[in-house]
């Protein structure tokens, strides 16, 4: 008969092993980022010789150089502008549509809704080819507004789906009360439905913000002129031109990654929610 102490030890050993495994993977997740930051603080000569995670001196001037001379200040502001405009656009456009799909009656409602849902399921690899042609025709290529409209479209289907699912479950009483008080439909959407939908809107905002900030290929084909480029495209362009200036490249990468990591740490709850709800979406 094995004693209780035996089982206790066995459990402790097992738990230690499990922790070691989890911790090892966690370290591989974090380490490349620490290495990136460390390299961004080294000098050009040091980066090829000093393989320590701690730089010999803290060369924050690399960030100044990347921001000013490398143009990352400009690219950063571009990325902010695109992200904020696209997310604002998606929130307004998709919440209006989702509200209508959930609450209002009009002919062709189901067909239109299924059209959006179909777009979510049909993968169109290389859809950037006709988009390039289209934007050229509309004289919207190499413009901020062209990129913003394309990116709004990218986020529409999923956002409409998430919001409609929420509105479907929302009790109707408050809206009825507002209607009796003489509130218009647009007023009900704005002052009753939207405030109630805040938790879902947070998911929509966070997901679309990450998506736009990290987007690459549409920005690549849409922008020819450097002053319009967002960070992601600028990074690969920079890599092509300043192949050897690794400290500046690492500073640029840190500038690009940091806002995402901060937003992620603050909004983690909504991201987990979005991913687990996303599975049902498919």
């Amino acid at each position: 008969m094995k004693t209780a102490a035996f089982y206790k030890t066995k459990k402790a050993v097992l738990n230690t092993l499990i922790h070691a495994f989890l911790l090892a993977v966690a370290v591989t997740c974090i380490f490349p980022l620490l290495w990136m930051v460390a390299c961004s603080l080294k000098t050009q000569e040091e980066i090829f010789k000093n393989m320590s995670l701690v730089p010999s001196g803290w060369h924050f001037e690399n960030y100044y150089k990347a921001w000013v001379e490398g143009g990352f200040g400009r690219f950063f502001i571009n990325s902010i502008i695109y992200t904020v405009s696209v997310v604002a656009g998606i929130v307004i456009v998709s919440s209006m549509a989702a509200y209508a799909f959930s609450r209002l009656q009009f002919p062709g409602k189901n067909i239109l809704f299924y059209m959006f849902m179909a777009a979510m399921m049909i993968p169109v690899p290389g859809s950037f080819v006709p988009l390039y042609v289209l934007l050229n025709k509309l004289h919207l290529r190499n413009t901020a507004i062209g990129y913003i409209l394309c990116m709004i479209n990218v986020g529409l289907s999923t956002s409409i789906f998430l919001l409609k699912t929420f509105f479907d479950k929302m009790p109707k009483e408050l809206e009825d009360a507002a209607r009796i008080d003489g509130c218009s439909k647009i007023g009900i959407w704005r002052h009753v439905a939207l405030p109630l939908a805040k938790p879902v809107l947070a998911v929509v905002v966070v997901f679309n913000a990450l998506n736009v900030w990290n987007e690459y290929v549409l920005a690549l084909i849409i922008f020819d002129s450097r002053p319009l480029m967002p960070l992601q495209v600028a990074l690969t362009a920079f890599q092509g031109e300043f192949v050897t200036n690794y400290p500046l490249l690492m500073a640029g990468l840190t500038i690009t990654a940091l806002p995402i990591i901060i937003v992620y740490l603050l909004m983690q709850k909504y991201i987990v929610k979005g991913v687990t709800q996303g599975i049902v979406v498919g």
Binding site: F116, I152, G282
Partner: protein, 290 residues
């Protein structure tokens, strides 16, 4: 009055539908149209060539090589990445402390952009000044050190592993959410019946997790087959097409050789394959819900 109300209701969906039609529906139709033309994207004249673009794809060696490469990366993602994701989720589900901490950390790579991940790893894997080779040399394993991303023997695997590093957090979150829906009473009952850890896993956990695993697998296939930005950042398809993938070929047909029609034809044939997988996913997720 009725008409006015209907029109008013349409106003709610008008912005969404307008953007959707212009930026999704029209380009979608154009893909099929352009796929049957020979066109450089600039000249006003397009030459109708019927299905010859599609015929050319059949004999396009680099295209099929890129398909094979994407298939290889997908295979690694399906096995290595998803098994890792499941093991981590399983470990985290055992009510150990710090579960939230690990959940926080494991999802950091997925929220980073492919460009950032690709460029950081490219620097780590650099043949001359990379950290990996420095460590290998430090451990006396000089024979293992190599130019990971320009060596045809290792480039594709290196890319696949970095892809898995970036992606396992998705599978982890979905598996963990799935594991947490399993009622604790089932484990309790298994324990009372004297089942050991392996028997509990085989008879309780595994059967309940199969639908989740199927969904993760299909999402992995669709996501990985279309991955290419990471590869732009790491190898740009090289050395000598060893890390080329289909979407990178479509981009090259369009930007490199200015063959818009051919690029669209490539997109269609690739899309049809992905559609089949997507359809399977739809079927399975419906089954899983029922």
């Amino acid at each position: 009055m009725r008409i006015k109300e209907t029109l008013e209701n349409y106003l709610f969906v008008l912005p969404a539908v307008t953007i959707f039609v212009i930026f999704y529906v029209i380009p979608f139709i154009w893909v099929f149209q352009l796929g049957m033309f020979d066109w450089d994207g600039i000249l006003p004249t397009k030459i109708f060539v019927g299905l010859s673009n599609f015929k050319e794809i059949l004999f396009d060696k680099v295209w099929w090589q890129s398909m094979g490469n994407a298939g290889y990366i997908t295979l690694i993602a399906l096995t290595f990445q998803n098994i890792l994701a499941f093991l981590l989720a399983w470990a985290c589900d055992r009510e150990i402390r710090a579960k939230n901490f690990y959940r926080l950390i494991f999802f950091i790579p997925p929220v980073l952009s492919e460009v950032v991940v690709g460029l950081v790893w490219q620097w780590i894997l650099d043949g001359n000044y990379g950290l990996l080779n420095y460590w290998l040399n430090g451990l006396g394993l000089h024979s293992l050190a190599r130019n990971w991303l320009s060596d045809p023997q290792t480039a594709l695997t290196a890319v696949a592993i970095v892809h898995s590093w970036k992606g396992f957090g998705w599978g982890f979150l979905i598996f963990l959410a799935g594991l947490q829906t399993i009622p604790r009473e089932l484990y309790e009952a298994a324990r009372v019946d004297g089942a050991n850890a392996w028997q509990t896993f085989k008879n309780v956990t595994a059967p309940l997790m199969i639908p989740v695993a199927v969904i993760v697998a299909i999402l992995t296939i669709i996501g990985t087959m279309q991955a290419f930005v990471l590869i732009i950042a790491m190898t740009r398809g090289g050395p000598a097409y060893h890390t080329e993938v289909p979407v990178l070929r479509i981009l090259a047909s369009m930007r490199g050789s200015s063959r818009f029609g051919y690029a669209c034809a490539q997109g269609i044939s690739f899309g049809v394959i992905l559609m089949a997988v997507s359809f399977m996913q739809y079927k399975f997720s419906k089954k899983a819900k029922a």
